[in-house]
């Protein structure tokens, strides 16, 4: 039995401690946000926040999480009450198939948590680990820019 803090709530899970956080979130806690994309820490579809840092949940064992706070896209906001970043993605229609988008949101949120007004170059650099295959990059960048507000 492991106790996790997920999206501000304490959750008990019985998965074995070596289970990557991705499968715990999806299969034990029923959270859809983090996606299996590669299981190798190479594509970012599984990105979640661990104590505000963006991490690949597919290579983060349950045993490594400890007391650190897990935040998934469900923790940002809901379809009815979106967070500013989610709203910016909606306003820019920044998705095609959308499979990468929850990971994009969580990586972008980690940037905005650390630096509320990043430069365009910083945004590109920060988003580098996450892959999008549909080619929605321009809209994703625009959405993050919109959420961050115009450059000072």
């Amino acid at each position: 039995m492991t106790i996790l803090s997920v999206n501000g709530k304490s959750r008990q899970v019985t998965a074995s401690p070596d289970t990557p956080l991705l499968y715990v979130l999806r299969d034990d806690l029923g959270l859809n946000g983090a996606k299996y994309g590669c299981g190798l820490g190479q594509c970012g579809a599984c990105t979640v926040q661990l104590d505000r840092m963006a991490v690949f949940s597919c290579v983060t064992p349950l045993a490594a999480v400890g007391t650190r706070a897990v935040r998934t896209v469900e923790g940002l906001g809901s379809a009815e009450a979106m967070s500013p970043l989610q709203r910016a993605f909606a306003e820019e229609q920044a998705a095609q198939c959308g499979y990468c988008i929850a990971g994009m949101l969580m990586r972008a949120q980690a940037l905005l948590d650390a630096n509320p007004s990043p430069s365009d170059a910083q945004i590109r650099q920060h988003m580098q680990p996450n892959l999008c295959r549909c080619g929605t990059h321009i809209r994703i960048l625009r959405a993050i820019r919109r959420a961050a507000g115009p450059l000072a």
Partner: protein, 749 residues
Amino acid sequence: MSAPIDRRQVLAGGGLLVAFSFAGRGFAQLAGGGEGGAAPKVLRPDLPGSLKSHPELDSWIRIAPDGAITVFSGKAELGQGIRTALLQVVAEELDVPPFTISFITADTARTPDEGLTAGSHSMQDGGTALANAGASVRLLLTREAARRWKLPAETLTTDGDGNVAAPDGRRLGFGVLAASLSLHGEAIADAPLRDPAVYRTLGRNLPRVDIPAKLTGGAAYVQDLRLPGMLHARVVRGPSYGTRLANPDLAAAGRMPGVVRLIHDGSFVAIVARSEWQAIQAMRVAQAGDYARTRPVLPVSEGPLRLQALPSREIVVLNTRGPKRRSAKTVKARYTRPWYSHASIGPSCAVARFEKGEMTIWSHSQGVFDMQRATAELVGLPVENVRVIHTPSAGCYGQNGADDVTAEAALIAKAMPGHPIRLQWMREQEFGWEPCGCAMVTEVEAAIGPDNRITRWTYDVWSNSHNNRPVRAGGYAVAQEIASGFPPQEAKPIPMPEGDGDRNANPLYDFPDMDVRYHFVPEMPLRVSALRSLGAHLNIFSLESMLDELALAGGIDPLAFRLAHMRDERARQVMETAAQDFGWAKRPKGDGRRGCGMAFARYKNIGAYCAIAMEVEVERETGAIIIHRVHAAVDAGQPASPDGIRNQIEGGIIQSLSWAIHEEVTFDETKRTSFDWGSYPILRFDQVPGAIDVTILHRPGLPFLGAGETAQGPTSAALGNAIADATGARLRDMPMTPAKIKAAIGLVG
């Protein structure tokens, strides 16, 4: 995710539903761009789009007495936004708010068979059908109101909110009117469409209906489906198609925690476990060890040129040999592209449940109707006992592993009645086993006369079939693994005007003396099938590269050279618009580092028009490319949602740049060696163009032209042309990597 709907509930229906009318199958129409199996038989050739095969209105639209509207489409949401676009079409023609419609898509038990969702046909076939069906229903409702009110029908209008309105302000709701009508009649060929001047929904940027769930962790994908009692499966395989494990350690795998069942049938092995992680761990144990190759070795030294060495069937695409004109300059060139991966971000996944003799499958296949028949054959069930429900997944861009993984899930489920089975491929299985996009080779010889007009055009293209989508059980990879086995499907080319390897090999330009041949190669060195735009990608790259090579030889501006050979007015306007927006006339001229290139195509010569212009910079020391800006102009007829088209074009541009610069399936003699994102890199954020601007031409009321694939060819071609303009080096073999560019520039730089 909506709960699976029981078959009886569906058949019980309500309101206007009388009966299902699924037409018999025939060979008359190329739905989905000719991919997949034969489309349903044409019953009413006079009706537009998919109504030809499904003329009954209640196959498409049903209205309950309370006014609730349900619309059915055989086309599937693949991330391209088609769900929203089709909804806009039908909402406009019914004249109701789009969000009041329940929209059911691609479900073999509920929706009309519209063949594949492919080939940029969804708007042309499905959109056109829904437009006419909507208009027909609106006409019937209006006539019914006219009958009740005893007013001439032409004096009545609809109010945009589900009512027919009389001039005196009286209103009757659609539900009330529909209750006394039967829609189990055929569509009305000349039902008047709404006037574009008063469109309420069509042509507007309606926010996509699927996006909110995708931004918030809502259930949006087949991967998110969780059925009671569901078990997790993984397949155990060699590294890539054409291999099998020599000696999988099944005993050890079976002892792993959580393993419920090992399926072992011929060389097909699958592990079923209680949890996903347990299934993966057991799969790893079983998969350790050596593999054997089961097919001919892969063409390591020859690459795509292997296709020219294999036996081929020659298909004459165009032969307009005319009187010879004097040629001043001749250019001859060979162009190639490698095998590509679809490289979906999410590996393919399916859920299958076999219960009481009925198989229900949730799949992200582009062809649920073909799948129903092929899977039924594979698992040995009558077709009517198999139901396939399309459920979205990561973008596929053609035939990725979606069909295979579904067939495998169905086989596993068949062996475990009562247990819903969720099977997802691993990343390396997707790269290793999915059908690749075809490698291709073209050879072009063309000449210009003293007047700088093209005098001769000889074009040869070598390709495998781009259409190996499963229409029979033998089309699935697993069919060659299971003991009972099925013979592989025969590879066939798609006839023109769609074409496959020869798609867009016929120039839309006005050239005299053309000889265009397709050397169709049946034998496939690598397993291949459809990838976004099929052969159009290399054919447009070749054609549009050659135009620039000829323009350079003649010392003419590439835009002027194209316009001089183009009579199609819409094509000219698209090119001129892109040039205008880009600032082509005062563009920076190639100075060794910076340069500009353009290219044009009308997809399949019957789809959307697209012109691309871009400015690039090449770092001569390294060959690295920076793409400063890209401008696109697109004529897709009446756009359903301009922003939806813009999203598709932006995505197509970025994907095509990724193909053209980075991508290549690599292999050694026995296996594919591109198995992860390190060995199959795709374009990342730092390489995304500085800006992409898309102009959608205003074409009110003109027929829909599919736009999802139209950017693929022109983008790669414009890039090659821009690199040539910038550096003086013409690259003809994709991918045009920095290493190749540097090699072409030379060490001196």
